[in-house]
Amino acid sequence: MNTLDFSIVAQSWPYLWSGLLFSLSLTAAAFAIGMILGTCLALVQHFDVPVLAKIVRSYVAIIRSIPLILVLFWFFFLMPIVLGHLSGNGRPVPIGASATAFTTFGLFEAAYYSEIIRVGLRAVNKGQFEACQALALSTYHTYRHIVLPQVLRVASPIILSQTIILFQDTSLVYVLSLTDLLGAASKLAQLNGRLVEMYLVVAVAYLIISSAASQCVASLRKRYAIATTR
């Protein structure tokens, strides 16, 4: 084969950088939407709200058993139709690949975060609830100020690990032809024929970001573990 020539990567750096920024903002948005919605979904299941809890449970089960790529295809096709119905005139509203990616990842991750939080809710000591009752706190205050903060703290390493996975999964927006880090590299590779250099650089970039993040989570967990040792 011809020799590797990484100068091409240096030239195309700004484009790759913008791709990386898109990946990161998609991760951040999906994290925010996913956490807020996921907490709501978990609470609905936790309180066993009639009918709603069943719907939420099926939603979570379905989302967790089909591939993310299929979910992306579903939303890419369904969102315009749903929005069309909502806007009243019934005609599909085209929303574009980027908006699809943000909604899909938010709703998709919500299912995963909700499972983590639901398990965390079950893990909270019964005494905490009893103490809240003894102090005459309302249900809202109990969960808002006593229970949820504990759940988030206990589950934070898992939530963060899930977020690292989410960051890696954002590369799948490639199937919607979006320009995330991988998409940018792939478009450049098709232009200049430097597939090998482009994909190697992208792989190393993902490797560095993900393992650095994993190291942070690991040290966080260590610190936390010491804090709770009795």
Partner: protein, 264 residues
């Protein structure tokens, strides 16, 4: 609603045949990929726990590399990059492979090696969950390091981690869909093709979704049966699922986030 699936497609087959052939590729990838992953995963997982750095450092590197690069990027590395970086004759031989197999083998390799890194972490967690006495007893009986792992440690660890392996089984069949990016016509790709050919998007994706749900159900049931059959009697089983780790109050070791993220 699913009537359109039984209509004839342009190539003389019915659309349902497209879906079934896609299902075949998905199952083949998941099945063979799983055994590759399991074999390598156990070896690397053991390597993570031994004292000898000659084994533990490469094992750690393996897990770090394969877990921290997205599957899709790994897929491209095997498909586009691998034939270019190996010696020319071998690279040319790889490029000569006829179409479906040319995407199947890289996909198989990719999924197998990626899933292996995740199984390795489960195996390591399983081994670390065993009481120290097992190792000490084996030593006292004069078993060599190899025999200790072969007959005492690994069999017990594997029995412990069956529930967390369930999520890896689910993970590998879902990740097979990533193979569509390198042109393998597996289930999701066929669903998309049907939707493009018939404009019955809802039907096409609905059918694929139902098939994936059935696969998930079958995988889950099968793993539950296996777990029942091999669970160590009297053991409170697995401290490795996130649930038990959370209730255990003090999260320790690497098992917890892995088990949870694996729930994917």
């Amino acid at each position: 609603m699913f009537g359109v699936l039984f209509e004839q497609a342009a190539d003389g087959q019915r659309y349902i045949d497209w879906l079934l052939s896609g299902l075949g590729w998905t199952l083949a990838l998941a099945f063979f990929g799983w055994w590759i992953a399991f074999a390598i995963g156990v070896i690397v997982g053991v390597g993570r726990t031994v004292q000898n750095r000659l084994f533990s450092i490469p094992a750690r590197l393996y897990v770090e590399i394969f877990r921290n690069i997205p599957v899709l990027v790994q897929m491209f590395l095997w498909y586009f990059v691998f034939p270019e970086v190996v010696p020319v004759t071998l690279g040319d031989a790889i490029k000569q492979i006829p179409p479906p197999w040319a995407s199947f083998f890289p996909a198989l390799l990719c999924l197998g090696l990626y899933t292996a890194s995740r199984i390795a972490e489960q195996v390591r967690a399983g081994i670390e969950a065993l009481p120290k006495g097992q190792m000490e007893a084996a030593n006292a009986l004069g078993l060599s390091g190899y025999l200790t792992y072969r007959y005492v440690i690994v069999p017990q660890a594997l029995r412990l981690i069956v529930p967390s392996l369930t999520s890896e089984v689910m993970g590998i069949y879902k990740n097979t869909s990533v193979a569509l990016t390198i042109g393998l016509m597996e289930l999701t790709a066929q669903a998309r093709q049907i939707s493009e050919a018939t404009f019955q998007t809802f039907t096409a994706f609905g059918a694929a979704t139902i098939i994936y749900l059935c696969l998930a159900l079958i995988a889950y049931q099968a793993m539950t049966l296996i777990d029942k059959a091999v669970r160590i009697p009297g053991s409170s089983a697995v401290t490795l699922t996130a649930e038990q780790d959370l209730t255990a109050d003090v999260p320790q070791g690497g098992a917890l986030p892995d088990a949870m993220e694996a729930a994917k």
